[in-house]
């Protein structure tokens, strides 16, 4: 009886944790996949796997990277299943146009379109840093890169994005 009560409390806590993280996890999945429907599928699968494996989350403070790892794996699995060969960015932008265009300002819509065009290896660490609040060390650990490699990607990501967005780059540094 006592065990059952404890188990229920633990599950309730886990649900609250998942609910609080869900918005950013969905956003991360969206920017990873650039596909709204796929992002929802990936997060749904992630939640199911997380639920099943919740005992392996020993520290709630580490929940964000824990979920992120599952999302990345789920995304990789979906990618393998669907065997995407090529990605036409213009087609992607057109498909997700309703979502991209809901920005309250036109320049946010332009920024989102530019993010779509950013190579995956630059977009992913940038999203991890800006949206998820990950440190360089955390990004490096998750992506299996060195700290300097992460910094290089973040630098290039912003540099390319600024050019794509038509920013004034006259004061921007060279690599």
């Amino acid at each position: 009886m006592k065990d059952q009560v404890g188990g229920n409390q633990r599950r309730a806590r886990f649900q609250v944790l998942c609910q609080s993280l869900r918005p950013d996890l969905l956003r991360f999945a969206f920017w990873l996949s650039r596909d709204r429907a796929l992002a929802e599928d990936v997060v749904q699968e992630t939640m199911l796997r997380a639920w099943k494996a919740q005992d392996s989350l020993l520290d709630e403070a580490a929940a964000k990277p824990w979920f992120l790892t599952i999302i990345r794996r789920e995304y990789a699995r979906s990618f393998e299943r669907k065997r995407f060969v090529t990605v036409d960015v213009d087609e992607l932008i057109a498909r997700e146009e309703p979502m991209l265009a809901v920005a309250e300002e036109q320049n946010l819509a332009e920024m989102r379109a530019a993010l779509f065009k950013l190579p995956d290896e630059y977009r992913e660490p940038l999203v991890m840093q800006v949206l998820m609040g990950f440190s360089t060390a955390e990004i490096a650990r998750e992506l299996g890169l060195s700290g300097p490699a992460v910094l290089t990607r973040l630098f290039r990501a912003r540099k390319q994005l600024r050019v794509l967005c038509g920013e004034d780059t006259s004061l921007d540094p060279q690599e």
């Binding site: 969905l26 199911l48 320049n107 920024m111 989102r112 993010l115 840093q129 360089t136 540094p173």
Partner: protein, 250 residues
């Protein structure tokens, strides 16, 4: 030794790097200051662009409260779906409860920015449960000033007794997170100078009720209480009182 190139390269990898050496260099070089200003503006737009609206269940239409305000349920429960045939029967039952809790199924991607901002405010609350203590001990005046200074504001006495003040990372910026003790309990206030809303957004989610009100020229103000029994009129009154008590210094 920091020079312009090194400073700007560092900022391009993390514009919010709080390294004191970088900050000092920024103050000493006019062009680097200009570069930083532009970069932070860009970063703010990037942060907002990444925060695409997240789905709410299809049946979670907005509803009006007794006072006629439109209240946005950010994540109401939806019907579960069984989408994976590979799962066992037991898993379907668990999956159903998980999906109900997460409201993933049958979702719409909201087009308004308000609910997304409100969702982020509610999410932020989950990370600071200690802020909700009922207390009659005010936060030291110096500590409160420190928290408010970076957002270029101070609070006049009319706001009420502030029992908690923290500079919190929110949507890529440091923002003041305050708790004001009121007759009906602690009320959280977040000063969101970087987030504008076109009109007041009411929300009721995960045990929190509140409102985000626009502040002309200074973004918005989120005011919320814990408990779904909270009176929306009281929240509205507190929001107005806090807004009247803010003195912008920059």
């Amino acid at each position: 030794m920091i020079d312009c190139a090194r400073y700007r390269r560092s900022m391009m990898t993390d514009p919010n790097d709080s390294d004191p050496q970088l900050r000092e260099y920024q103050r000493s070089c006019h062009e680097c200051g200009l570069f930083t200003e532009r970069l932070l503006d860009f970063e703010s737009r990037l942060d907002r662009a990444l925060r695409v609206a997240v789905p709410v269940p299809a049946d979670a239409a907005t509803r009006a409260d007794s006072g006629g305000r439109t209240v946005v349920p950010l994540r109401a429960a939806s019907q579960p779906v069984s989408r994976s045939a590979s799962l066992g029967k037991g898993w379907l039952a668990i999956a159903a409860s998980v999906l109900v809790a997460f409201g993933v199924a049958g979702a719409l991607w909201l087009s308004a920015s308000g609910p997304t901002l409100a969702a982020d405010v509610v999410t932020h609350m989950a990370g600071e449960p200690e802020a909700w203590r009922r207390t009659d001990v005010p936060v030291p005046a110096g500590a409160l000033q420190d928290v408010l200074r970076d957002s270029h504001l101070r609070l006049a006495a009319g706001a009420g007794m502030v029992s908690y003040a923290s500079s919190c990372r929110f949507r890529g910026h440091q923002v003041p997170h305050l708790v004001i003790q009121t007759a009906s309990g602690p009320v959280t206030v977040m000063v969101l100078v970087h987030d504008r809303v076109p009109k007041s957004v009411w929300f009721d989610e995960q045990g929190y009720r509140g409102v985000i009100v626009p502040v002309a020229g200074h973004g918005s103000l989120a005011v919320l209480t814990r408990g779904t029994a909270a009176d929306l009129s009281a929240i509205e009154h507190i929001a107005a009182r806090v807004q009247d008590s803010i003195v912008w210094t920059g």
